[in-house]
Symmetry: C2
Subunit: 298 residues, 2 copies
Amino acid sequence: MKIGIIGAGSIGLLFASYISSFFPVTIYTRTDEQANGINAYGLVLKRGSTQATIKVKALPISEWKGKEDLTVITVKQFQLGSIFEKIKELESLPGSLLFVQNGMGHLKDLEKLPVKNLFIGSVEHGAYKEDDFTVSHNGEGKTNAAVYKGDSSILREFSRAVSANFPLVFCEDYYELLVNKLIVNAVINPLTAILQVKNGELIKNQFYFKVLKNLYTEVFYILNLEDHEKHLRQIINICQNTADNRSSMLKDIEAGRATEVDAILGFLIEKAFEQEKKAPQVENFYYLIKGKEFTERF
Amino acid sequence: MKIGIIGAGSIGLLFASYISSFFPVTIYTRTDEQANGINAYGLVLKRGSTQATIKVKALPISEWKGKEDLTVITVKQFQLGSIFEKIKELESLPGSLLFVQNGMGHLKDLEKLPVKNLFIGSVEHGAYKEDDFTVSHNGEGKTNAAVYKGDSSILREFSRAVSANFPLVFCEDYYELLVNKLIVNAVINPLTAILQVKNGELIKNQFYFKVLKNLYTEVFYILNLEDHEKHLRQIINICQNTADNRSSMLKDIEAGRATEVDAILGFLIEKAFEQEKKAPQVENFYYLIKGKEFTERF
């Protein structure tokens, strides 16, 4: 089975590094430069104090033909548009795609995608891209995946092969999988990015924890969830388990990159609007992050 | 007419510096050390590129007898408790007190104060305390004042004397005066302190401006105000006129000092609670500031 990976950010590099021990992998990059670099020097995977150099084939995204048996799409949600365009231009459609974006706004686009097997994943690994060829795996986790449409057999085969050191856990319900990730992202990401604190601070500081609970309660209400206690416990667990991590949104803000706030809080604002619900907290955090992006980038 | 000034922070030092050209002033300090310093070296008033040294009599607060004709209380609202205790212990009650605190929580305490003339003020000057004897007057403004109870004649006399270079403007309604200041403080202070930006940024950054309007609208609703446009214009004007200033709350947070958030947002939370209104935004900003205080101070 041949695997394609689209996107060579932290998650793309992490997937390529691990999966290439089991399957032939081609990673597709945005720039020719990064592809050339990876082909010349390989990928460097750091884990604790150890590091390994891994040979992986890389091509610029313009060279993607969709011929691999399974392709993992690791770009951020706001970059999916160009991938969808690309798919329409392919001579033959790819057989199976696994999407691992944050947010849920892309679900409506997947509906229209003429691909046989579509899978949805959410990644719980902590990974940091040090440079174009180097990824640091600083939080060992797992990937959750579920069928969006089509047949699961290829994903199951993939899962069996990689599970020893890069676990992929099967979930029944893709919607639940995305919602669970969304709740966590909607609360932890904006708060840590605005306050410029590590994840653990949100539960250690009793006042920040109040805001966390308030914001979570609004998210709970917008998403019509059922078990208030369960999801709150999940958020608290993640703050505990990743206490020393900086969230992806905080890192994006610090690096002057665009964040995923549209996919996360923007999606929730839309959901609230559709239901004629008020979302004053989600809205304020959305604009605070947009404002931060604006000042950090210009 | 003899003037007493209680509190030797930025506002106390500013008042003492200006008023002592017109009246004999005694400034009362929290520590013996600061009083000794002021007596030995005088106060330094900086304004633009000029500076003047001014002789002012200073005493520690323990020496206050309430004998001055008018006493200006410049301590922060959360420090008023000890001043009220002190008043009760005086052998003879002071005749006239002018309170210039932010917030409105102290109004209920003034009711019970057995003093003949009580005045309320709000200070629009920008002042920065550089050290125990030095104040920089970096935003020329005015003091607004109104009668809370009693007779206004002494305050009018005071106003006439100082108005040439330290204007004190008479207002009819002390409540309106405090509310106007509260609205401005409730919006500009927390936002600048959380975002760590200067006042002007709240209107220059279109996204921050959205949050400013949202938060203001909640404050408007809690205070049962009538003219939405008018108060919003006032907030915008102040952001424009003090664009390069750091708000007092931002400075307090940066210096690891307690802020006035209880007097400002804490008061609004109470008001909302009394009326069974929801105040999700005010509440979140309250806790974000409390959390910041907590991390900066401990």
